[in-house]
């Protein structure tokens, strides 16, 4: 287990990772509140990108509806908290199985009936849309009026109930991102990880060597959904409000995949790098425009589009693989 955690990590990469971890650990003491919020956003996208990457990068199943699992995670934990006073960490124990179950339903319908590729992606969008419309009309969760978590001035950080200042949230999402990275490192080097990559590369050939493709694709969807659900819980308790129109919307799903696409699908560090590059640059652009007094609605989206175009044209494997080679930090071939 320990050996697998460090397998394929060169000394140089370990040092680089340690330096990055140290920098991120001390960041709240160094940066101002605005930058801290940006860092939280970056880590949030690093985390969700990592979760999405399990399905697409490892097992080759394109989901364009991961907002479904964000929304479900958020709604389950927030409802349990506001209605029954259940702490978010216990809520997470309910949110993850709920998301995994929904992932299993989407997966079962698709994989049992041979829905693959683009059609599978469309199915994932459809389910996120079903959820959006369903929650819009569900009074128990306040339908379109949205679900709000009680906010007041907290004298101290309550980690158990996730009530506190941004610094606490920063450390929570940092720990979660680190945990997701470790989980992915373990998964990709496991037996399941080998079978996922075989399915991703050539499903028919994978089945010819005895891989039960249905079973392993189901595992990928369920793990990815469950991991994603935590991001939903975090979202709900960080922003203190949930609207179906927002959490389940297609742009939410697209945001999740931008990081890994830019960073490098199927790599371990790509989603993290992608989140830093994309969110970092977009926020820099935003503040620059604000500083010059320019107000251009939608400029972030246009910027994302440009980034995607450039990366897909120039670096189809993402930014991380060539960068890693140049820095001598290459991951083993996945």
């Amino acid at each position: 287990m320990i050996a697998r955690l460090t397998a394929g990590v060169s000394r140089r990469a370990a040092v680089a990772l340690a330096l990055l971890s140290a920098a991120l650990l001390i960041a709240p003491w160094v940066v101002n509140d605005y930058l801290l919020t940006i860092l939280i956003l970056i880590l949030y996208f690093a985390y969700t990108g990592q979760a999405w990457n399990i399905m697409m990068g490892f097992a080759g199943q394109l989901s364009l509806g991961h907002a479904l699992y964000i929304g479900l995670g958020g709604y389950v934990a927030a409802t349990l908290f506001t209605r029954f006073g259940v702490a978010p960490w216990l809520g997470l124990l309910a949110a993850m199985p709920v998301a995994a179950l929904c992932g299993a339903i989407v997966g079962y319908l698709a994989f049992r009936f041979g829905v693959t590729g683009v059609y599978f992606a469309i199915l994932t969008i459809a389910f996120a849309e079903f959820a959006r419309i369903g929650f819009d009309h569900w009074d128990f969760v306040n339908a379109t009026s949205g679900l709000f978590l009680p906010v007041k001035q907290y004298t101290h950080n309550d980690l158990w109930r996730l009530r506190g200042d941004p610094t606490m949230f920063y450390y929570v999402i940092l720990a979660a991102t680190a945990a997701a990275l470790l989980l992915c490192q373990l998964l990709i080097r496991s037996r399941t990880g080998y079978f996922w990559r075989a399915i991703r590369e050539d499903e028919r050939a994978a089945r010819a060597v005895g891989v039960d493709a249905f079973r392993y694709k189901m595992i990928a969807v369920m793990v990815s959904a469950a991991v994603t659900a935590f991001a939903g819980v975090f979202y709900a308790f960080f922003y203190n409000n949930l609207f179906p129109e927002q959490v389940f919307s297609l742009p939410r799903s697209i945001e999740i995949i931008l990081g890994p696409v830019i960073g490098g699908i199927g790599t371990l560090f790509g989603p993290i790098l992608g989140a830093f590059v994309l969110t970092g640059l977009a926020e820099t652009l935003n503040s620059a425009l604000t500083a010059f007094g320019v107000d251009l609605p939608g400029v972030t989206q246009v910027f994302y589009g440009l980034c995607l175009l450039i990366v897909i044209a120039a670096l189809p494997d993402g930014v991380w693989p060539p960068l890693a080679r140049r820095l001598g930090l290459s991951e083993d071939k996945k």
């Binding site: 080998y194 990559r197 590369e201 010819a208 071939k333």
Partner: protein
């Protein structure tokens, strides 16, 4: 000798075309059994039905005393029947070693044990030195042997080879023949579809000839190649 694989009146139709028409044969344990015939004779269809890639329309396939027909490809492999693809299908972005490790993981849960098994097989198939190469960078003969290595990694009792000699030069063909003979000596039963008569004559203990979906001859290779029906439909006037 008992039959490891027995095929009874197996049929497959594609719309109006009967690709395989009530074909029956038995592969004894320990044999090297070749299926030959002209293009379009139904060899690959027959092969794909045994491998679970196609469902038969009629007839039965029995392997080691249990029905195999109708099972999906992965279940067929788990029963102990491994295949290669005529148009090779390595896992493209994976290394040669990882390609074979995937196969070795079928009956092993420990990745390191599977990797060790993969390395043993790569040594045997002369691919050990190329084990860190990405599968798609291999030459055609190497990729052919990679197909065999990956299939062997699943520890089959029966190995199905789909034109594994096609496109090989004579020296490479002889190398593959030697490898397959050695595997057979260790107890592996082999069923191959083959066009390269040089390999068939060197390897096969039994030959089945298909033409237009039906079996027109079966028996020892020396006898089959002199069969007038076989000469007319497949081998032509070419001297053997």
């Amino acid at each position: 000798m008992t039959a490891l694989l027995s095929v009874e009146t197996l049929s497959k139709r594609f719309r109006g075309l009967t690709a395989v028409d009530r074909v029956s044969f038995a592969v004894p344990a320990g044999a090297i059994f070749a299926v030959i015939g002209p293009n379009g004779a139904g060899k690959t269809t027959l092969f794909n039905m045994i491998a679970g890639a196609l469902k038969p329309d009629g007839g039965t396939i029995e392997f080691a005393g249990r029905r195999l027909d109708g099972l999906p490809a992965d279940a067929v492999c788990r029963r102990g029947v491994a295949r290669t693809f005529q148009l090779m299908r390595p896992f493209p972005a994976l290394s040669v070693e990882d390609n074979v490790t995937v196969g070795a993981l079928l009956h092993r849960h420990d990745v390191e044990a599977a990797r060790a098994r993969a390395q043993t097989l790569l040594l045997r198939l002369d691919l050990f030195d190329k084990r860190h190469r990405i599968a798609t960078t291999l030459t055609l003969p190497d990729r052919k042997r990679l197909e065999v290595a990956r299939a062997l990694a699943t520890e089959p009792r029966l190995l199905l080879l789909d034109e594994v000699m096609a496109g090989l030069r004579p020296t490479e063909t002889d190398r593959m023949v030697a490898i397959l003979q050695a595997l057979n000596r260790d107890g592996l039963t082999i069923l191959l579809i083959e066009h390269v008569m040089r390999a068939v004559m060197a390897l096969a203990s039994h030959v089945l000839v298909l033409d237009h979906g039906t079996a027109i001859a079966e028996g020892a290779p020396e006898r089959v190649v002199r069969d007038p029906a076989v000469v007319q439909s497949y081998l032509g006037a070419e001297p053997m």
